[in-house]
């Protein structure tokens, strides 16, 4: 690649720039609306039961509670008075019309990569096609001195990299389109890239290092690695699996849960097949993170026959509480109940998500392709010891290769749910 001829590089660059900036509309969906779906604006800017885009959703950040803002075109309480330049500055630089700095819960470090053409289309959509809602923004509850916003300018100066996405001439148009969507509007790194103590994402693209999308603890969950060759990432996934997952919320072996179910429901299911294929192609190109073994070329075998006897207390609990849906062989039921055998969420080193979903339950994405949004029940009534036993069983049964979990780990996850252990 180092020897790529400059003219070739220029031509690829020109072609990919045109391609990356071109957002095809899906099924007649207006382009700005499509981009708003791709950016999943609705997820954060809509409170439960509230009007679309009117804001008010609470975020408990490490420094205090903040609320998303009204981005409907209401002139007084929303962004109706914003010019295109105001809008672009807010989305890409995190600075509101009146000059105050937004909290970086708004993923403007990612949105900085959105092209001018797409910003323009988004502006037109929010200005002309979204219904204005008069709803004043709620003040944040961040204590002094962190409540001052001026340090955010310093944060931005340190961590915000301005400038629209620059296509990588070493890759083709499809890869660059995928990178543009993943690193930019898709802001996948907001959850899937680990953050530093200063709360910025440690990497905003693969060029910044292999911590990019390498998995992160987030809001009582572990958002798994999305690196295409991490064993606990997407190493066991084909590009087709990724496309199916983003479109339907399920594959034959797994299902989106927690925040990702919402992403599929509100955002990725609406993307065109071309865009989903580009995303999958890009993610699969990401090498294993530094220090992590490359994923072996593993095909999931049908799990061993059901054990004739419970091998452990955890196995007995599995047989009592889990077996009806996830089956004795841990194979689940394709597209209905996730397999637990050979499931990378189960096998990932950080068991936070697995413990969380056992305790708190969850619901798969409700999509056009999957009208039955099945749920995982919440097992809050199991005590911490029982949960540790059954989770340890799941992580070591059927050839799964992950360590057991401790009662203390379960207690920590339970604390994030705010549900006390039942007294026996």
């Amino acid at each position: 690649m180092a020897k790529t001829h400059w003219l070739y590089a220029f031509l690829v660059l020109a072609a990919t720039t045109a391609r990356a900036a071109e957002a095809p509309a899906a099924g007649g969906m207006e382009r700005g609306a499509y981009l708003a779906r791709a950016g999943d604006c609705i997820a954060c800017h809509t409170a439960p039961g509230g009007a679309d885009f009117a804001g008010g959703l609470a975020f408990d950040t490490p420094v205090g509670r903040i609320y998303s803002t009204n981005i409907t075109p209401d002139r007084e309480t929303g962004i109706g008075a914003y010019t295109l330049e105001d809008f672009a500055r807010a989305v890409r630089q995190g600075v509101a019309k009146d000059g105050h700095h937004l909290y970086p819960a708004m993923p403007y470090p990612s949105y900085a990569k959105v092209s001018d053409a797409d910003i323009k289309a988004l502006y037109a959509y929010f200005h002309d096609n979204v219904a204005p809602v008069k709803q004043a923004n709620r003040p944040s509850a961040i204590p002094m001195p962190l409540g001052f916003r001026f340090p955010l300018a310093v944060w931005d100066a340190l961590f915000l990299k301005e400038g629209a996405y620059r296509p990588d001439p070493a890759h083709d148009a499809r890869w660059n389109r995928g990178a543009y969507l993943v690193e930019g509007l898709g802001h996948c790194g907001a959850c899937h890239t680990p953050r530093a103590v200063t709360l910025q994402e440690k990497a905003l693209s693969d060029r910044d290092g292999s911590t990019y999308l390498s998995g992160s603890k987030f809001d009582g969950w572990f958002a798994k690695s999305l690196r295409g060759n991490d064993r606990d990432g997407l190493g066991g996934w084909s590009e087709g699996d990724i496309v199916t997952f983003l479109k339907t919320g399920t594959t034959d072996r797994t299902a989106a849960f927690a925040g990702m179910a919402e992403v599929v429901q509100h955002s990725s299911q609406f993307l065109t097949d071309d865009d989903l294929e580009a995303i999958a192609h890009y993610l699969k190109s990401l090498r294993a993170r530094q220090g992590a073994p490359e994923a072996p070329a593993r095909t999931i075998q049908a799990a061993a026959a059901p054990a004739e006897d419970h091998p452990s207390r955890g196995g007995a609990a599995y047989s009592q509480y889990c077996v009806t849906c996830h089956r004795a062989d841990g194979g689940g039921v394709p597209r209905i109940f996730p397999a637990l055998a050979g499931n990378d969420v189960v096998e990932t080193a950080d068991a936070t998500s697995l413990i969380h979903i056992v305790l708190g339950g969850g619901r798969i994405a409700h999509t056009m392709a999957h009208p039955m949004p099945f749920a995982m029940p919440e097992f809050t009534k199991m005590d911490n010891r029982e949960v540790a036993e059954v989770v340890s069983f799941i992580r070591t049964a059927w050839g799964n290769d992950a360590g057991p979990v401790t009662v203390d780990q379960v207690a920590k996850v339970r604390a994030t749910l705010g549900k006390a252990e039942a007294k026996p």
């Binding site: 049908a302 609990a317 009592q320 509480y321 062989d329 339950g361 749920a375 029940p377």
Partner: protein, 301 residues
């Protein structure tokens, strides 16, 4: 049988004694409607639904027998092919192996709580006879010999599930819940409901769904491989009560199965009428049912 777990039993009895105290002070036990066989019992005590834990089963002879009984309940068709004529397992109707409230649990069905009056049979039945009723109707097969190791193991499992309960205790969550029997079924609407809410698991043709090894995950709801007309589930209101309170599974956050709550009473009656009246095997012994009258209005013959 129950002596295998003396410590647990003691705790359970203490808990029940406390509960019983409150009940005697005036709480009325709720009516339990629509189990496949209309069991009628003497007035009894309401106890909380608290099945024991498989993890607490001791590794001894009794424990092994209980686990064998459990396995027979979970994999009946595979393990007892001479007795099961269709492809169902006990757990197809008694969800979670009879350990789930509202899903026709076996908790409270110890041998000591039998014989019970049975209007369909016209006489009292033993637990063995009751189990064999299922084999001949819901499983469209042949009865298990009453002295077989398999029958004894299943009863050991039932007894373990009910350990510590007074013989005629009325367990909260017994049966399959209630349905409004005055509702008139609309099978055409039921067909729509079936397509929208049932077919994903039970198949558009009611064929059920198999796993990679060929064992059924979701049972067929009609056809040669399904229950016969003598089964409780072939009756509209029994099926409707079951569907309303137990289908689909994995629908809500309620542990352990998240079952039920997807349909209104009317929708449940409509879909139950639709699937229960699809073609299915006949029941040879049907002429002997309800010899003393009292046949319910949704009986199939």
């Amino acid at each position: 049988m129950t002596s295998a777990l003396p410590q647990m039993k003691k705790v359970r009895i203490m808990r029940q004694t406390l509960l019983t105290g409150f009940l005697v002070l005036g709480l009325m036990p709720p009516a339990v409607a629509g189990s496949p066989v209309q069991d009628s019992q003497p007035p009894s005590l309401l106890v909380k639904f608290a099945p024991p834990k498989l993890a607490d089963i001791p590794d001894d002879a009794n424990g092994k027998q209980v686990l064998y009984g459990r396995r027979l309940v979970m994999e009946t068709a595979r393990l007892l092919p001479d007795n099961v004529g269709d492809v169902l397992n006990c757990t197809s109707c008694h969800l979670g192996g009879g350990m789930v409230a509202g899903a026709s649990p076996f908790v409270g069905q110890a041998a000591a709580s039998y014989p019970r009056n049975n209007a369909r049979a016209g006489h009292t039945v033993t637990l063995e006879q009751r189990i064999n009723g299922c084999f001949q109707r819901s499983m469209n097969g042949k009865p298990l010999p009453e002295d077989s190791a398999e029958m004894k193991a299943m009863i050991a499992y039932f007894n373990w599930l009910s350990a510590g309960l007074p013989p005629h205790a009325k367990v909260e969550g017994a049966g399959i819940g209630k349905i409004d029997k005055s509702l008139m079924p609309d099978p055409a609407h039921g067909k729509q409901i079936y397509g929208a809410k049932c077919a994903a698991c039970h198949g558009t043709d009611g064929n059920g769904l198999k796993d990679a090894k060929g064992n059924y995950v979701f049972p067929p709801l009609w056809g040669d491989k399904s229950f016969n007309v003598g089964a409780g589930m072939a009756r509209t209101y029994t099926a409707a009560a079951f569907v309303k309170h137990n289908m689909p599974i994995a629908w809500g956050l309620n542990a352990p199965l998240g079952q039920g709550g997807a349909l209104s009473d009317q929708d449940a009656v409509d879909v139950a009428e639709y699937f229960s009246h699809q073609p299915r095997p006949d029941f040879a012994g049907k002429a002997k049912d309800w010899p003393n009258g009292g046949k319910p209005k949704d009986a199939r013959y």
